[in-house]
Amino acid sequence: MKIVVFVSQTLDTEARVAVSSSGDSVATDDVKWILNPYDEFAVEEAIQTKEKLGGEVIVVSAGPARGIDAIRQALAMGADSGVHIKDDGFAETDNYTIAKIVASEIKKIDGVDFVLTGMKIIDDESVQVGIQLAEELGLPHVSLVSKVVEVDASKLVCQKEIDGGSVVVEVPLPALITCPDAMNEPRYASLPNIMKAKKKPVNEVTLDDIDFDTLGISRDAVGKSGSKVTTVKIEVPVIDRKLKIIKGSDDTTVKGEEIAQAVQELVQLLRDDAKVL
């Protein structure tokens, strides 16, 4: 089974997020770059599938030079090889174009059976790029797969949560799925595997290798000016809450009679101060 995982490098949003001096992007001076957390679940699912059915796992990523670290992390987890589409312009490129470019590289890989990617990229909060990748590859997709029930050489059966229920679907392979967290438990890369990953082959591709004519877009589509949608401004909202915390007399939990008092105070605040009752 030939399995492709599309991964992205994102900035770590657990840390502080600040606006850059240009005002239309997030400051990247002191940030940590990580493998998009949702992509870890996709890589794990791919490796488990390979362990079951044999074959190989190829990670594909589009990004600047530092993006190689995300690919290496996937390789350290157990993927076999990588494709790095390297360009500095991708951060400002819309999902539409990225999906087309990534698809064109995946199409160069012979006999792909199964494509996986994270359900969302946490910096851009994009849920669409994976689904658009399926469209550009001409493959059916199932997004937000909570569980792979069965997979063999010709088909995939999986469960997906939907508003108001859940659904089990069957789809012929090749197909693409997008992976939420909690669908599996991504393995940690051991030190020896991190060392081994450095020697695994990564094919570096540049925009010169992309046949834009066939894609029906121009090379200018990469970058801000060519995108159908562009970010013109970023704000970091401040959390502005009332912070009225009712604690017990010892500055910890309310106890005994304090409980009823605290509840009465809260109800009164909700009614008279917040006016939400």
């Binding site: 900035l11 910096d123 469209e135 937000l144 401004k233 970023i234 912070l243």
Partner: protein
């Protein structure tokens, strides 16, 4: 490009139209239609849905494009992608809006790719430039930032809207119904449903609810979630949960609020035994009033709350449910 604004009618499992579709129609009517000039239209896709056109007229839809096709029954994104893509290619609407739901998140991106449309998802604010290009504000970076997105001219502009962002407002007209034939065959349906389980709940749906009561890991068991449901029922609220609670099996996945789960913007959000991780806050940080109940005086959720009680939920919640019941009866 035509000068039509389209709103996709998103349907629930029971076949009723989601409130967010009316919110989108109302907002398009209020702040876009007069500038763009064309009719406000709705798109109604499904099986046996033709009788829903009137409901859309109530919120200002002057034209309703109807695709009534047996292949659009239940969960069937392939069929919807085909139907909507063909309609967009044929009529070239200026703007296409839809509620952001787990279903539209699944199929609208494909429609945008297929039709070469620009797309911004989960808008919390929208506007138009002087030359009538759409602008959208949306959360990014785990909701720690708000990005303002501007569309280019020359393509249909598509956006999905976070539910509960706009007010729905009636503006009744009798819509012109346009029946569209889209040829969908079995071969078009690649993703086949093997089993569909619907869970009907008497509580309001999470994303639509005015009030939400959510529980976290601190609940400790599925049984104890009764504390959450009791409080929710007193408040006529939807019930929500953190991933930790869902993972532990205390409650079903469709209750999950957060970066993976649903984004909610109720008037009142109760976070019970929830620590307030960035991935959870990302899904409820836009709630108007946040109340937390937590026994840890240092819990990070307190710094993100309007009101809080530091206390044990098992002691506080029953008293709170009673007091609220009284207050609401007054």
């Amino acid at each position: 490009m035509s000068n039509e604004i389209w709103v996709i009618a998103d349907m629930k499992m029971d076949g009723s139209i989601r409130k967010v579709s009316f919110e989108a129609l109302s907002e398009a009517k209020r702040s876009m239609q007069s500038k763009i000039g064309g009719p406000l239209c709705a798109v109604l896709m499904g099986s046996g849905v033709a009788d829903k056109a009137e409901a859309l007229g109530k919120y200002g839809a002057e034209k309703v494009y109807v695709v009534d096709n047996a292949h659009l029954k239940d969960f069937n994104p392939d069929g919807y992608v085909k139907a909507l893509s063909e309609l967009v290619a044929k009529h070239q609407p200026h703007i296409v809006l839809a509620g952001n739901t787990s279903f539209t998140e699944d199929y609208i991106p494909r429609v945008a790719a297929r039709t070469g449309s620009g797309l911004a998802m989960e808008a919390i604010d929208m506007g138009l430039t002087d030359d009538n290009r759409l602008t959208v504000k949306r959360y990014s970076h785990s909701s720690k930032a708000i990005s303002e997105i501007e569309f280019k001219a020359g393509n249909t502009m598509m956006a999905t809207i976070r539910p509960n962002t706009y007010k729905e407002e009636e503006s009744p007209v009798s819509p012109e119904v346009i029946n569209e034939q889209v040829d969908i065959s079995d071969a078009d349906i690649k993703v086949k449903v093997v089993n569909l389980e619907t869970k009907m709940s008497d509580r309001p749906e999470l994303t639509e609810a005015e009030r939400v009561v959510a529980g976290g890991r601190g609940l400790g068991s599925e049984e104890n979630f009764k504390y959450i449901y009791d409080l929710a029922d007193v408040l006529s609220a939807a019930a929500g949960a953190t991933r930790a609670a869902v993972d532990a099996g205390y409650c079903p996945y469709d209750m999950q609020v957060g970066q993976t789960g649903k984004a909610v913007s109720p008037t009142l959000y109760f976070a019970v035994a929830i620590s307030g991780a960035v991935q959870h806050f990302s899904g409820m940080g836009t709630s108007k009033v946040i109340v937390s109940i937590n026994k840890d005086p240092e819990t990070p959720i307190f710094a993100k709350s309007d009101y809080a009680i530091c206390g044990d939920l098992f002691e506080v919640l029953p008293v709170l449910s009673e007091e609220l019941k009284k207050a609401l009866a007054e």
